[in-house]
Amino acid sequence: MSSTTIPARRGPMAILARTGRMIMPAIVLFWLAMAFFGYWVAPYDPAGIQDADLFEGMSRKFWLGTDYFGRDMLSRIVAGARYTVGISLMATSLAVASGVLLGLAASAIGGFFDAAVSRFLDALISIPSKMFGLVLVAAFGASIPVLVMTLAVIYLPGCYRINRSVAVNVAALDFVAVARARGESTLYIMLREILPNMIGPVLADFGLRFIYVVLLLSSLSFLGLGVQPPQADWGSLVRENMPGLPYGAPAVIMPAIAIASLTIAVNLTIDSVFGRHTREGVR
């Protein structure tokens, strides 16, 4: 350990690492594109029953096999990106935007406002996320707007906590004191002095939060409590094809792999852009 030598970064490992750095963002972009255009680029009608057996394996014709109705899995997954990626993106944006706003305000205003908001949201953190999801769905049902709100509410407290601590750290720096001593307004201090210095951590947190939201949404759908038929996100696809599991049908495993490809790609993209340390301490 002591006279540490760092292994030189050459050879196959390095090439792998370099291509890896390119591939991961590419996968993220691919799924983003599918969220918008998936429905149109799908090879078959995602809802159309094809001339095929149920739970067919992979073939030339149906790259990822068919589902329990004999529909083309590839088309259903590509079309499902709209729900998984779309809902998650909306929910994450909502949670992060409110978290940043509240965190900024708490750090710039401080005092009672800060204490009240912090206490309240910190208490909400002690409801495990899946549990919180179940309770909210039990109460409000599972329409898509409700799902977006539910996911945003669940992740808002964590988002707030991170952003508040980042904002408080920035607000303690001397240049903020200089601006205060000059007589600048709270709004100017929030937007011009503090916010620009939060961009990095906010983006990293956005990525991590997005992963959590995707996983939670998929879990809810998998339990039948998320996106409802006939609409189907990737979690729903796994659920509706579970009967194919004993036959080893790709219809079960492929949507799950789609989820994993998205979350892993986002994860590794964050790592390569922001460094490995961002993750630690994030809830």
Partner: protein, 595 residues
Amino acid sequence: MEPLIDIRDLRIRARTAEGQDIEIVKGVSFSVRRGEVMGLIGESGSGKTTIALATMGYARYGCRIAGGTIRIGDIAVTSLDEKGLQQLRGQKIAYIAQSAAASFNPSRPIMAQVIESALIHGLMGEAAAREKAISLFRAMAIPQPETIGNRYPHQVSGGQLQRLMAAMALITDPDVVIFDEPTTALDVTTQIEVLKAFKEAIRDRNTTGIYVTHDLAVIAQIADSITVLRHGEVQEIATTSQLISNPRHEYSQKLLAAAEPALRPSPVTDRQARPLLRVSGMSAGYGLTGKDGMPAVPVLRDIDLTIGRGRALGVIGESGCGKSTLARVIAGLTPASRGTVTLDGIDLAPGIAGRSREQLREIQLVFQMADTALNPKVTIDEIIGRPLTFFFGMKGAARDRRVRELLDLTRLPATVQHRFPGDLSGGQKQRVNFARALAAQPKLLLCDEVTSALDTVVAAAILDLMAELRRELGLTTMFISHDLKTIRAICDDIMVLYSGRVVETMPAAALETGRHHPYAGLLLGSVPALRTDWLESTEAASLQVQGVPPALSSGGCAFFPRCTLAEPGRCNTEVPPFRDYPGGIGAACFRLAAE
């Protein structure tokens, strides 16, 4: 005679955060004879610590020894394996680090850590090791030598921990001891005791050592010869007396000049100049305000001060005594809980919200850490231009012109205007810091430790700039520092703070003469002078009480626990009144009043 330590063409490489592989020590060679101490001096980042650690065959995470040889006696350190290195470390060479507080394991009692290396290397039994540790504690003048080892690190003061760490290094009677800035983290009045203890230990044991520091005056007391480093390269190697009397290399000359900053002449010599700032009866602190109107954490009590127009007041005191808080109170960032702040005859509201924009403009603050005082996401143009727009409504070409004038005034190249703070060096950032304050055309400039984070040579240039600005703009300044030499170089009057109270005020000229408050006297006597025999000749160390201070009953003199002149029964029960003495000195001390 064969040198005991011999370093030849040492090269150390490191991987930066961006993944680049760079050379941080570029072919350094020097040698140290048995029984001598070699000083390594240089600015931060010049590779001092890296070289010192390399002599133990150690490189920090991310660094590696890439070339050269290191010999300790007949051991070739660079070709030892892990086992060999373990046997070398702690037994043949020992290390004393900068921060003792961080270098002791918080979970283990002190004694167990002090004797650890003796036990690891199987040099003696546990009982014998304890015996030896206690005798070392005695030699280091550590109070309560018998029992201090049972305590945990957080239960012991910084100065004592530093000496305990020396005992930890000496327990195995190593051939070589590495001192890595061992007094830098200490207050100057604590530093002197530690230095004395080190020097005695070195002399008594005929220790061979490498002493790393950035402070020429400190190293002059300890080292026999000095290696001057810059950017990982040796600039000059000379004996200590030669280096401080007759440095050959240009960089050494600069270092020497900066170590004893010359007095900058004052533009306003009239002590009776019309007051610009007057603070009276002011108390302040942090936390919620209690029933008695005082904050939960009181920091400053009953502060009175005046600064004459165009004059510079230096505020000195150890860290945590409330210097920065004083500046914040005057600027309105920390509202005073009692007393008044008057600028140009007008009482200012305690908080920013209650002050007019004009009043805010007239007082400007310059902070210590230029790194945190400049918003890294904003261009220099915007940083300096914002006050112009905010206070004077300047825009477009007019503002642009004024920004360039200010850059010129602070001796910054015009090319930095559209850069970001991250692109600038430490000294340049501090100049931008000044330019921003000057943009507001203030009457009063509050400078909080503006040179403390800079390397001495850079700091000297900033002092020149300040003197120039005072001369050209007639600025009134309050200059806060923990370093007496800096204050003396630039200030007309000096105010000494101790534990939140003013204990003495004096004209700068009275520093060397006159009778002082016991704390001020201790402070003056503790600042190392740039001559090799200063440590032997100073009496400062005997000016303070050692050991566990008696409890301070509320209301007494704050300095009572450390004061050798203290009069128990009086000093610890009444607050000494502030009186005037000959030579323009004012002080709060019963003893001084009685004489």
